[in-house]
């Protein structure tokens, strides 16, 4: 049915309903009369229609009802034509009809929505239930829900199947009867406990068959009061799990057993290097005892593990497999272990590295054994027995780490021993004999091995050696000969306890066998030697005579043979070397003859070609900057050298004989010029000139290579060893000549420089002398000026007096007092004055006359003489002269020069007194002798010489006076006169008042 038709049928049904209501109205009206309300049946009709058929049919019913009622009931068969009441009724009906329709429509929509909703919810609920049931049934665990009476409320399929029942069959049955086949619940049942305390409980329960094991959990279901009314009983079959677990445990135990008893040091570590497994061997090798290692960090157990091992562990963790055959492990207590180790990573099931396994083999013993074998191997090859015992002693000391080793042979019926080798503290000691009584060695004899690991000193208190050594441990073994008799012993003594006696003993036993063999052989040889000695003696004499004769004969033959071979050699050499000797000889002559280098080179080149028959000979010098070799002289086929390029640098043009000989500073031979790769640049040119071989020798100047001489020959293999020797000799000769020439040049240069220097010096001396002359002249001038001044002083007074005498003659003439007596007196006095003046001049003249020879004179005289020349001047300056003669001194020397010195000192004193305006000036002269030497001191009170110049006052040209007054020569000359001319001494010092000059002659 299409929707349109369904719609139309609904409208038709509405019409029908209205018709039915109308008919019902009519029927009721017929029964009850016309008082019936107009619309009584239509109200329910419209209501019903709207409810059942919907909005459209409802409205149609309302309209149709109103129309029908108006036409047939209000005013029959008339439409409209209403009174107010009727209109109101109609309107009310219509309104009510519409409202009812709308309400019904609304109601219908709500109902429809509710229905849809309910339907949806119901569907979901159903699906959830189905899902839950599916899930419940598909869970492999056995699930049952049970009430407080252990009755089954529900089971899942797995449970039902397990019980071989349908689910429904289980309901209501008690669980223990169904599950365990018992009358009462099992004691372990978690359900009972869950019900009582409302908490979940888990228990392992065995099923009907003993092999089955279940893990049962009971979870209580609580009602609203919080009381448990049932439990969910979940049983998981863990039989397989249990079995696996058991297997694993067994495997683990087996692994533990396997690792633990492995005959190797094995340890397994996790990523943090904590022990997981460890073998017993590991414990014993590294001295770990029984302590619990599992879970302990390796580095806590061995803090001494070196960094490179830690690094190896890290690399192992990174997946590497590492292996070292021999490695040294120094333990914290200082002992050394040798180990061979291997590190492998292990992986967890997911393939990640879970840690490492270390395999470590303690090979110290093996190392020692190897060492022992090696040692014995070496010794087998050794010839000297003495050496063997020494080596053995040294080896034992090192191998067993002991301080003292001695190897003895037994003597005197095994009561004493003589050492064959004593090794103590790293040194061998002299061999001695000692008594075996009261020594551990005495105990050793007759036993295979004797060991005192500790306190050996206490055990043998009478053994001084042990006491001296501070011995603690002792190990000894007997050396047996092949007949089984003791012939010697080995004793090893240490200052520390012997911990591992086993290895030590075995080493000692092994070496003992070897040592015994050696000792026996030696003893045997000794016996044999003694027997042989006698035999040999008689034999020797005969032998000796034969040998003498044989030697004499052999000598003769030898001499003859040598002579012959030498002669042959000499002859061939002579022939071959003749030419080169000629060259050498000529060259040496040239060297003697020639004094400059270029001519020497020229001559050499010429001689080599002329006398030596060389094709070409040339001398080249190397330019130090560029390395180019420049031709200085050449002779022979010089065309070869035209535009040739040769250097001493390391390049192709420097690889020829010339370049090489210059570079190396020796010589270079090229015996096959045409095919030698070194001479490649010159092959073509050489062929043109027929050069087949060449040789070059470096030339040196004072050990520095300056160039080379190069010779070219027209034959291949021209230069043999002797040629080379000669060439080298020639190079040396020429170098020597160059050296000589240079030396000569240098000597000449030095001589010239010396000459120039000498001339300069002479000039300097000359100029100095001239200066000195000038100075002396100046001094003389000054002295003369001084003297003239002095003469003036000396003469002034007498001249005045003389003048007065002369004037008085005229003045008194004619007066009574002018008589003969007056005249005589005047003349006499005048003459006296004139004599005095004349003497003064003589004094001065004498004073400056030079003396040729020394003479003896009195110091007093000299002083007086000098004073006489200056006293007038001193008087004028008010200077008091204080002359003190303590002793009369005789001086041998030049009196005038001496007086000059005095004069000089006096004048200096005067000058300084005047200059400094000294109060009551005074000059003090003292004459005396000291130790047979005349001493004259001249002192003033002028204040002295400043200390800073007192050292310099005797220097030439030193003056404190201005340039007009002093020349600075006076004191210098004075010192020269006293010290140089008269061998005396002139010195100065400052007194409290002034300077004091002291003349000692």
């Amino acid at each position: 049915m299409t929707p349109t038709i369904r719609q139309l049928s609904r409208y038709a049904a509405a019409i029908c309903m209205v018709a039915a209501a109308f008919l019902l109205r009519i029927a009721i009206e017929k029964l009850t009369g016309p008082v019936l309300p107009t619309y009584i049946t239509f109200y329910p009709c419209v209501m019903f229609t709207a409810l059942v058929l919907g909005l459209g049919p409802g409205l149609l019913a309302t309209f149709a009802s109103a129309l029908l009622a108006d036409y047939f009931i209000v005013t029959p068969y008339v439409l409209g034509h209403w009174g107010i009441g009727e209109a109101a009724s109609l309107t009310l009906f219509s309104g009510m009809g519409v409202i009812m329709t709308l309400v019904a429509n609304r109601y219908n929509r709500i109902r429809d929505r509710l229905e849809t909703l309910v339907e949806e919810r119901t569907g979901k609920l159903r699906r959830a239930k189905e899902e839950w049931e599916t899930t419940f049934d598909s869970i492999p665990d056995l699930i049952a829900i049970m009430d407080d009476q252990h009755r089954i409320i529900r089971v899942n399929r797995a449970m039902a199947e397990h019980l071989n029942l349908e689910s429904a069959q289980c309901i209501g049955k008690s669980c223990f009867s169904v599950m365990h086949g018992t009358e009462t619940p099992p004691s372990s049942c978690p359900h009972t406990r869950s019900m009582s305390d409302c908490k979940e409980h888990v228990a392992e329960v065995h099923g009907t068959s003993f092999s089955d094991t279940f893990l049962v959990s009971a979870t209580p279901l609580l009602n609203t009061q919080g009381r448990a009314y049932a439990t969910v009983h979940v049983a998981r079959d863990i039989t397989e799990l249990k079995r696996t677990e058991k297997t694993l445990l067994e495997k683990e135990e087996r692994l533990q057993l396997f690792i633990g008893h492995a005959p190797a040091a094995l340890a397994m570590f996790d990523r943090e290097m904590r022990y997981i497994h460890v073998s017993n061997r590991w414990r014993s090798d590294f001295g770990l005892g029984e302590r619990d290692l599992i879970g302990v960090c390796h580095y806590d157990v061995f803090p001494e593990i070196p960094e490179q091992w830690r690094e190896a562990h890290r690399r192992g963790m990174a997946g590497e497999v590492l292996k070292v055959e021999t490695d040294r492990f120094e333990r914290a207590d200082g002992t050394v272990q040798w180990v061979r180790w291997e590190i492998r990573p292990w992986r967890d099931p997911s393939g990640n590295i879970g840690g490492i396994v270390i395999f470590a083999e303690e090979i110290s013993e093996r190392m020692q054994t190897e060492e022992l074998l090696r040692f014995l191997g070496i010794c087998s090859g050794s010839d000297s027995e003495e050496g063997f015992f020494q080596e053995l002693a040294r080896y034992l000391a090192q191998a067993l780490n002991m301080d003292f080793v001695c190897i003895d042979r037994l003597e005197e019926g095994n009561l004493s021993a003589r050492t064959l080798s004593v090794f103590h503290n790293g040194q061998f000691e002299d061999n001695v004999s000692y008594a075996l009584k009261d020594t551990p060695c005495g105990d050793v004899v007759g036993q295979s091995i004797c060991c005192f690991p500790e306190n050996v000193r206490g055990l043998f208190p009478r053994d001084d050696v042990l006491q001296d050594l501070q011995a603690e441990s002792y190990l000894g073994t007997t050396l047996w000969n092949t007949q089984g008799k003791p012939i010697g012993l080995i004793a090893v003594i240490g200052r520390q306890q012997l911990t591992d006696t086993r290895i030590a003993e075995s080493i000692l036993q092994i070496v003992a066998v070897r040592a015994a063999g050696e000792l026996e052989r030696r003893l045997y040889e000794e016996a044999l030697q003694q027997k042989e000695l006698a035999l040999k003696k008689s034999h020797d004499e005969l032998e000796h005579r034969v040998v003498e004769r044989t030697n004499a004969l052999a000598d003769t033959v030898e001499t003859l043979l040598t002579e012959i071979s030498e002669r042959e050699k000499a002859e061939s050499g002579l022939l071959r070397l003749n030419r080169l000797y000629a060259v050498l000889s000529e060259t040496n002559q040239a060297i003697v003859r020639i004094s400059d280098r270029d001519t020497l080179f020229q001559d050499f080149s010429r001689i080599a070609v002329k006398e030596g028959g060389f094709l070409l000979s040339w001398v080249g010098v190397v330019d130090e900057m560029s390395g180019k070799v420049q031709m200085l002289a050449a002779s022979g086929a010089t065309a070869y050298l035209d535009a040739i390029q040769i250097t001493a640098n390391e390049e192709q043009n420097g690889e020829g004989p010339t370049g090489i000989s210059i570079r190396t500073g020796t010589y270079c031979i090229c015996n096959d010029f045409q095919s030698d790769p070194r001479t490649r640049p010159w092959h073509e040119k050489g062929r043109t000139h027929g050069i087949k071989s060449s040789a070059s020798v470096a030339l040196k100047d004072n050990k520095r290579v300056i160039g080379a001489l190069t010779l070219y020959a027209g034959e291949k293999d021209f230069f043999d060893k002797q040629h080379v020797d000669l060439l080298v000799q020639m190079g040396k000769d020429i170098s020597f000549a160059i050296d000589n020439m240079n030396r000569e040049e240098r000597r000449q240069a030095a001589e010239k420089a010396l000459q120039e220097e000498t001339i300069k010096r002479l000039q300097a001396i000359e100029s100095l002398r001239r200066q000195e002359l000038v100075m002396i002249q100046q001094n003389r001038h000054a002295a003369m000026g001084e003297m003239i001044g002095n003469i003036a002083h000396q003469w002034r007074q007498p001249l005045n007096t003389l003048g007065l005498f002369t004037q008085s003659l005229g003045f008194f003439y004619g007066s009574p007092s002018f008589n003969k007596e007056f005249l005589d007196t005047s003349v006499a006095k005048s003459m006296e004055i004139i004599q005095y003046m004349s003497r003064t001049i003589d004094d001065f003249r004498n004073f400056f006359s030079t003396e040729r020879e020394k003479s003896e004179f009195k110091a007093d005289d000299a002083v007086r003489k000098a004073l006489s020349l200056v006293e007038a001047g001193f008087k004028e300056c008010q200077i008091t002269i204080n002359l003190e003669t303590r002793e009369h001194a005789i001086i041998y020397g030049f009196p005038n020069e001496y007086a000059q010195v005095l004069l000089n000192l006096f004048l200096n004193a005067r000058d300084v007194i005047n200059e400094r305006n000294v109060e009551s000036p005074c000059l003090k002269i003292s004459i005396g002798t000291e130790h047979a030497v005349s001493v004259v001191t001249v002192s003033d009170n002028g204040g002295g010489i400043p200390e800073d110049i007192i050292e310099k006052i005797f220097d030439p040209y030193f003056t404190t006076k201005g340039p007009q007054q002093g020349t600075g020569v006076g004191l210098f000359m004075s010192k020269t006169i006293i010290e140089n001319n008269m061998g005396g001494r002139l010195s100065v010092r400052n007194t409290e008042e002034g300077a004091e000059f002291r003349i000692e002659v």
């Binding site: 002083h793 001249l799 007096t801 007065l804 004037q807 008087k875």
Partner: protein, 127 residues
């Protein structure tokens, strides 16, 4: 000047001969005058204090007491005293000393010209 007092001259000269000759010549030249002679400054000063002579003739370079000191001492005692100083050319220093004292003095160079000395004495008397 007190005319009634006789003229008195003090001569101080350390050279005895010269002193004697000049003394005798002065006695000859001034017969009414009192002539005193001394051969050193100290004696000369003693004589001056005793006799207060009008004119003092003195050598300048003398032992015991030098000319300039003497001049100063005497002019303290009697500033009116006339001085005649006998000097050598080389006595420059001493001359400077005298001139620095501000004392007026006639100078007679050595060797002494007696007539020049007399002229100086006369000038001093007149002054």
């Amino acid at each position: 000047m007190n005319q009634k007092q006789p003229l008195s001259i003090l001569l101080i000269e350390d050279e005895e001969d010269a002193c004697e000759i000049i003394g005798s010549m002065l006695t000859m030249a001034y017969p009414n005058a009192n002539i005193y002679t001394a051969t050193n400054g100290k004696t000369g000063l003693g004589i001056f204090i005793t006799h207060k002579p009008l004119i003092v003739i003195t050598d300048i370079n003398m032992p015991e007491m030098n000319g300039d000191q003497l001049l100063q001492e005497i002019s303290k005692i009697n500033p009116d005293t006339r001085f005649i100083v006998i000097t050598a050319h080389s006595d420059r220093q001493n001359l400077d000393k005298i001139s620095s004292t501000g004392i007026a003095a006639e100078l007679i160079p050595k060797p002494v010209d007696f007539m020049a000395l007399v002229t100086s004495i006369n000038r001093s008397i007149a002054a």
